[in-house]
């Protein structure tokens, strides 16, 4: 499929023959909505409340589709996932006080994963700010550390411009969340001033064109490498650099590993792709990263779950680091050859500068040997209990190649990432940096609304993750969203249980339930369809039925509660010393 780039190329899901009409600006609130329309926003996620009511009133006459979520946290996650799949920032709204603080988790999540999100929050009237008024929270204070920038609107005349600027800033350069806090008097205040075209602030425009000297130095380093390795991060996906990145890898025959957010930047069934590296990455990716002599990292911040202990990370490698954010250069891992700029542009420039491909035939052979030596596999007896990895493979098999997969956080997330074969970017939608349990279902809602109608959306969830945002099933039912939730239910907060068994002498404190709800019945109570599956033979039938159902469906897979996620690099350990089972930790 082609990459998703500009929002303008996406047909509006709700578009009809009738020409869309722009909101007439009569107030601060209508100026806000007009600014969103000017930015081609088609969908917004939110929850009503006192201080944001003027904004909702302005939405009443707008063509923007508003999806009322059950909880504001879900609104920020849905907006985040919408943005990941769509390519343009997702938009979420909430009222002041608890509405705004409930958004915080999703904003922090977007910040950690560099996802473009615009949050609009209501605020008490300006003259009451600072008085501890009803539902007052210092929202710009609370969200300053987790946004690229946030704004406190001060005038109906300029609030439209501010919203346009915040939307543009969210997408500019390294994407991330922005927020505009809207005091009620600003929203209600009269104005007829139409917002101008939204531009990101002059002080935040990144360098996109890499410097010649940096490009030359990087090219020379790659040319002379004997064991070069490409590391594609989320920046390749978000920078729409997938085509350039793949072209570079195949032209020069350089093996590729990805980070988790970088999944899909390279087709995982390509002979050069070693899948993703890090704590639960493949053995072969971690072997390659350990032995490379030239690591060419694109759009990654070298998260500790990727690097393991810094002292043993790619210990023999010269590091070429391409990133649009100069602050990521040498933050965690020293960049011998930094290239600051747009990912696609930088890859093309380095490619054009190279006069020869590195001679890496032996190294490629070695990487293939590691693929054979450390295959991703799991023990699967013929009888119950059902293995969670089997369920993931069965789902992958039963769904089209370009299915969008969202997940919560924990063991199920790792199995989904390990055993689903991703071939395209923006198909794996998960919470990486913040590790937010409960992300999966609201993300599936956001992804569904951003996806084309003929695309399939599956949420692979865990029982504990699902319970954290289960109320959003009501939204999926009301909006008639065709999503399938597959719960890998082991009746544990499984990753915690795994760590307790490995590092806390099996003392399972607060990791399990005495009683787990029947999720298939709960789904039916919400108005969705539900199935419970205990055995291998029931798996294909349930998956087929759930996928065939045109609406929200939930399959509760009762999987082996003793199954653990491996390979595993212990926290702070060496990637090359990944354990294949608990006794190797």
């Amino acid at each position: 499929m082609s990459e998703r780039t500009a929002p303008a190329t996406e047909p509006a899901p709700a578009a009809t023959e009738a020409e869309s009409t722009d909101t007439e600006v009569t107030s601060g609130a209508t100026a806000v909505i007009r600014a969103l329309e000017n930015a081609d926003v088609e969908t917004a996620f939110g929850v009503q409340g006192g201080a944001i009511m003027p904004i909702y009133d302005a939405l009443y006459d707008s063509d923007i589709r508003h999806v009322t979520m059950a909880h504001e946290q879900a609104a920020s996650h849905a907006a985040d996932a919408y943005g990941v799949v769509h390519g343009a920032p997702g938009v979420c709204l909430a009222t002041s006080g608890p509405g705004a603080t409930n958004l915080v988790t999703g904003i922090a999540d977007a910040n950690m994963d560099s996802d473009a999100v615009l949050a609009l929050t209501g605020q008490v009237p300006s003259d009451m700010v600072g008085s501890d008024a009803f539902q007052e929270t210092d929202t710009t204070g609370v969200t300053a550390p987790i946004t690229k920038h946030n704004y406190f609107a001060t005038s109906p005349d300029t609030v439209g411009d501010t919203v346009g600027e915040a939307f543009a800033l969210a997408a500019e350069g390294r994407p991330g969340p922005t927020l505009v806090d809207l005091p009620k008097d600003v929203s209600l205040g009269e104005t007829d001033r139409e917002p101008g075209p939204g531009r990101s602030p002059a002080t935040c425009r990144p360098r996109t064109e890499p410097a010649d000297a940096e490009v030359e130095a990087a090219a020379r380093a790659i040319e002379r490498a004997e064991k070069p390795l490409l590391l594609f991060g989320g920046g390749v996906v978000k920078g729409n650099a997938t085509d350039a990145a793949r072209q570079f890898a195949t032209e020069h025959r350089i093996p590729v590993v990805t980070t988790m957010p970088g999944i899909g930047a390279m087709p995982e069934d390509h002979d050069l792709c070693l899948s993703w590296a890090g704590m639960h990455g493949t053995g072969y990716a971690n072997m390659a990263i350990t032995h490379t002599d030239c690591l060419v990292a694109v759009g990654t911040r070298f998260d500790d779950r990727l690097t393991g202990g810094i002292d043993t990370f790619a210990p023999e490698a010269e590091v070429v680091h391409i990133d649009i954010d100069p602050a990521e250069i040498s933050k965690n891992v020293h960049a011998d050859y930094p290239v600051v700029g747009d990912a696609e542009r930088a890859i093309e420039r380095v490619d054009a500068e190279m006069t020869a491909s590195p001679d890496a035939r032996e190294w490629c052979e070695q990487c293939l040997t590691w693929k054979d030596e450390y295959p991703m596999d799991y023990a699967a007896p013929d009888t119950e209990p059902l293995k969670p990895q089997f369920v993931v493979e069965a789902l992958d098999e039963a769904t089209p190649d370009e299915t969008i997969v969202t997940s919560g956080v924990g063991q199920h997330q790792m199995w989904a990432a390990q055993y689903w074969t991703f071939r395209e970017p923006r198909r794996w939608v998960s919470s990486h940096g913040l590790g937010t349990m409960g992300y999966g279902l609201p993300a599936a809602i956001g992804a569904r609304l951003a996806a084309d109608d003929d695309e399939t959306v599956v949420c692979v969830d865990g029982d504990a993750s699902f319970l954290m945002t289960i109320q959003e099933l009501s939204v999926a039912v009301r909006e008639d969203l065709d999503i399938t939730v597959a719960i890998l239910n082991n009746e544990y907060i499984g990753m915690v249980r795994q760590w307790q068994d490995a590092f806390f002498e099996g003392r399972r404190m607060a990791a399990g339930y005495d009683w787990c709800p029947q999720f298939d019945k709960l789904a039916e109570a919400f108005g969705a369809r539900g199935w419970a599956v205990d055995s291998y033979e029931e798996v294909p039938e349930a998956i087929e039925a759930a996928l065939a159902y045109d609406g929200p469906s939930v399959i509760d897979f009762h999987v082996d509660p003793a199954e653990n996620v491996y390979p595993m690099v212990s926290s702070g350990g060496a990637n090359g010393k990944f354990a294949l089972s608990e006794d190797q930790l």
Binding site: P201, T203, R207, A211, T290, F313, A327, S330, H334, V340
Partner: protein
């Protein structure tokens, strides 16, 4: 999926080849034989920022949450309308100083930021309140450090001293003999030597439009 009970296969961790190389705490690849950790150094950063509400808290908050070691921070308006200068004394190893600059440069109100050279002109102001029992001796020390007496009475004498950090430190030591009751220091502020610009791309005069240099990597 494999039949039976096998699961993941492959050589155990201790049976795999592992390279000898390593990186130091700053992620810099080091010779296995040489221990190499960069030493912290003290330097002055100067930033031109948009003079708007909350700018100081954004700068200070960023420094706090990223554990940047900031010794002092001063802020005040410049000759350009709507601009202010923030001067920071920081103490970090080299990669840390780069981090402070690049992270601060990302803040929307930060227009430009740079590190001052060693020959920069630096000064700070201190107010010292000492016991007033020995006014002549207090006066003599104050004179010695080119200070000024701001307030004198039978109980206390308050003097003002200005100068670079070393001079102020020496002066404070000299006043200790009188018994320092209270002290207030502004922290250092600084400008580049001679015709050099304090902050890269800094515009003199009263142009209102913030500009960012495009050639300097530390200021985006």
């Amino acid at each position: 999926m494999s039949d039976g009970q096998t699961g993941l296969q492959g050589p155990a961790p201790e049976d795999r080849p592992h390279p000898d190389g390593r990186r130091n705490a700053q992620g810099i690849r080091v010779d296995p034989a040489v221990e190499s950790e960069r030493e912290p150094r003290r330097t002055v950063l100067s930033a031109i920022v948009e003079h708007e509400p909350g700018v100081l808290s954004r700068v200070a908050g960023l420094a706090a949450r990223r554990q940047f070691n900031i010794e002092s921070l001063t802020v005040g308006p410049t000759t350009v309308d709507g601009h202010a200068r923030i001067t920071m004394v920081v103490e970090e190893p080299d990669p840390g100083i780069d981090q402070i600059e690049t992270q601060l440069a990302k803040l929307k109100p930060v227009i430009s930021i740079g590190e001052l050279d060693d020959d920069a002109v630096r000064a700070e102001l201190v107010l010292l309140k000492v016991r007033g029992e020995d006014p002549d001796k207090v006066h003599a020390i104050t004179e010695m450090y080119d200070g000024k007496t701001l307030d004198a009475g039978p109980e206390t004498i308050t003097v003002q001293l200005t100068g670079d950090e070393h001079k102020i430190d020496d002066a404070v030591d000299a006043f200790r003999r009188f018994g320092i009751i209270e002290i207030a220091r502004t922290g250092q502020t600084a400008l580049a030597h001679g015709g050099k610009k304090t902050v890269p791309g800094e515009e003199p005069g009263t142009s209102g439009e913030p500009t960012k240099p495009t050639t300097n990597t530390t200021s985006k």
